[in-house]
Amino acid sequence: MIRIQIGKDVHEIPTPDFGGVGVAVILGAIVLIGAVLTSFYTIQQDEQGVVLRFGKEIKTVDNGLHFRAPFWIDTVEKVAVKRQMKQEFGFGTTGGSNYSQMSSRTEQEEEKSMVTGDLNAALVEWVIQYRIENPSQYLFNVRNADDTLRDASESVMREVVGDRTVDEVITFGRQDIESEAKQKLSDLAKKFEMGISIDQVQLKNVNPPQKVQSSFNEVNQAQQDREKTINVSLGEANKVVPKASGEAEQKISEAEGYALQRVNEAEGDAAKFNALFTEYQKAPEVTKRRLYLETMQKVMPQLGKKIIIDEGATGILPLLNLNENATPTLSK
């Protein structure tokens, strides 16, 4: 009964009497609906669920629709076991789904700066890929397993880089570093019982520090320069030597030609002479005279001025005008 007084009037409104049974029914209905609503859950394709009863782990379930004890008697923690997750060190790709995938920009600078085993410095960027292997360990053994993994990864990478020279780190030791870091990080994850398995450790950009970079480049450049200088001089040699060889052969061939010619001519001359001489011997006087006269016959017409003087005459030579650019030749 509810009494309402307005001014002097008192109104009495009768309350409906459901009785104890009515209240119980309504309460029961509410409880039932609540129970139904809280006793089903789904586990996604790439997840597993760990079921806790009053906080105690009772089982791990795979994906699908599941029933549980209502009213938070059973609670479920979902873990993405099939998802491959990634952590980046020294750099960051935005848009990652995993909160621990990258750190802030200033942290990234710190992350990549390392000291090598010859006390040089290097900037190392890398990525690890991992998976939750054991959801129960992942949830209950370690708080913030992903953060611990980040720290472990940094520690391991520095340990591996610290055992190497700067040249190994920057140029030819990359694979070696990746495999050793993976091994060590897996061991550590196992030791820490984080329920995480490491799939991959990959080095990304590995560089000498900015200020030193140019001197590293200079070494490469000097190496190239060296090759270039060598090649240029080899080119020079290649240009000149074969040509000289060819020319040498040419000269030799010419000499051989000369030799052939010389011998052949000599043989020819000798043969001619022999033939002539044989005939000459048969009539030497006449032949000689004939040859002499034949020659004269050939020579005389060609001559310019001819002066014939008596053998008795002497002293006329100075009288002759011999100033005509010709040298007097005396025949015997």
């Binding site: 209950f140 520095r158 200079e218 200088t229 030799i252 000599a266 005279r289 004939r290 030579l317 005509e324």
Partner: protein
């Protein structure tokens, strides 16, 4: 009648609610992630509860204090400190710890914030101590006997003898880490904390050291670069020298061969000529004669003035034909013709 009924209903309701409240207050759950200490008026009662599940306590007077059961992380800030060789470095360590004796932990520290600050103090100072006792390289390297791979070319070109070499260590990073761990672990045990692991996360040079390191690296590289360039020039000079040598060898060998060939040919020719011309004194004389005859047409030309004496064989007939040596009478008719022309 209904009033009595109503009143009794109310009482029942209140009792039920009160009972429910008491019941609710006397049970609690412990999650897998936590452990619990029950306190009564601020004092711990009974053993700590580490097993997860539904638990009971005395309502109202007993209070549930929850603590982490999982392994926790301590991540220190990077702190600058000197090494034994007086190099200033920033060391950033992280550790993993666990509350193993929650009663001690509760009594000494109460909450995680004070635990973390205790860890800061203890680990910070132990790290500093350990780093100060060792040279820098001990905190960097791990494996004592690791032989680094070398870039042969660089190692060859390097004159400083430092490139491609790892500095030697006596103990190494893991030894230092476990040194810190052992020392801190004992100190933390009284707080109910078990230190599981301490590791160097980052070790950096401080800014001024870094500058020196960079300068050293630069000079190290530059000397290699110089070496490479000089090697190239040296190699080029060698090649050019060899080229010169080869050229001279080629030309002189050719010259030698040419001379030999020509000499041999000349000798052969000379021999042939000698054989022919020198076979008898007559032949010698005859050769001389023909050669002379061959020479005349070459020597004498149109601009030659010849003074011929009638005493010469050719013009003897001009003085008279009664020469006694008239053996080749026939042939004398021929030279008469040019003699006539000469007169003109």
């Amino acid at each position: 009648m209904s009033k009595v009924k109503q009143a009794s209903g109310c009482v029942v309701g209140v009792i039920v609610i009160a009972l429910a409240f008491v019941g609710w207050n006397s049970i609690y759950t412990v999650n897998e992630k936590e452990q619990v200490i029950i306190t009564q008026f601020g004092k711990p009662v009974g053993e700590p509860v580490t097993e997860a599940g539904l638990k009971f306590k005395t309502p109202f007077i007993q209070v549930v204090n929850r603590f982490e059961k999982r392994v926790l992380e301590w991540d220190g800030r990077a702190v600058e400190m000197p090494t034994k060789d007086k190099t200033y470095i920033a060391v950033d360590t992280f550790a993993r710890w666990q509350i193993v004796d929650s009663l001690k932990y509760f009594n000494r520290l109460r909450d995680e914030r004070s635990a973390q600050s205790r860890l800061d103090d203890i680990l910070g100072s132990e790290t500093r101590n350990t780093i100060a006792k060792h040279e820098l390289i001990e905190a960097i390297r791990t494996t004592k006997d690791r032989k680094p791979e070398q870039a042969e070319e660089l190692a060859e070109a390097d004159q400083s003898g430092t490139i491609g070499k790892l500095l030697p260590i006596r103990s190494g990073r893991t030894v230092l880490e476990s040194e810190i761990l052992e020392k801190s672990r004992q100190k933390l045990r009284e707080f109910g904390i078990e230190l599981l692991d301490v590791r160097f996360k980052r070790i950096h040079y401080n800014a001024s050291v870094q500058e020196r390191i960079f300068e050293r690296m630069i000079s190290e590289r530059q000397q290699i670069a110089e070496r490479f360039r000089s090697e190239g020039e040296g190699e080029a000079a060698k090649i050019l020298g060899n080229m010169e040598k080869e050229l001279l060898s080629i030309t002189s060998t050719a010259y030698k061969e040419v001379q030999e060939i020509e000499g041999a040919a000349d000798a052969k020719a000379t021999e042939i000529y000698a054989n022919a011309y020198n076979q008898s004194p007559e032949a010698v004389e005859f050769y001389e004669f023909i050669k002379m005859m061959e020479l005349y047409p070459e020597m004498l030309s149109s601009d030659t003035t010849v003074i011929l004496s009638t005493g010469s064989d050719l013009f003897k007939p001009l003085k008279g034909i009664d020469t006694p040596n008239s053996k080749p009478a026939k042939s004398q008719t021929r030279p008469a013709a040019p003699a006539l022309r000469v007169v003109e």
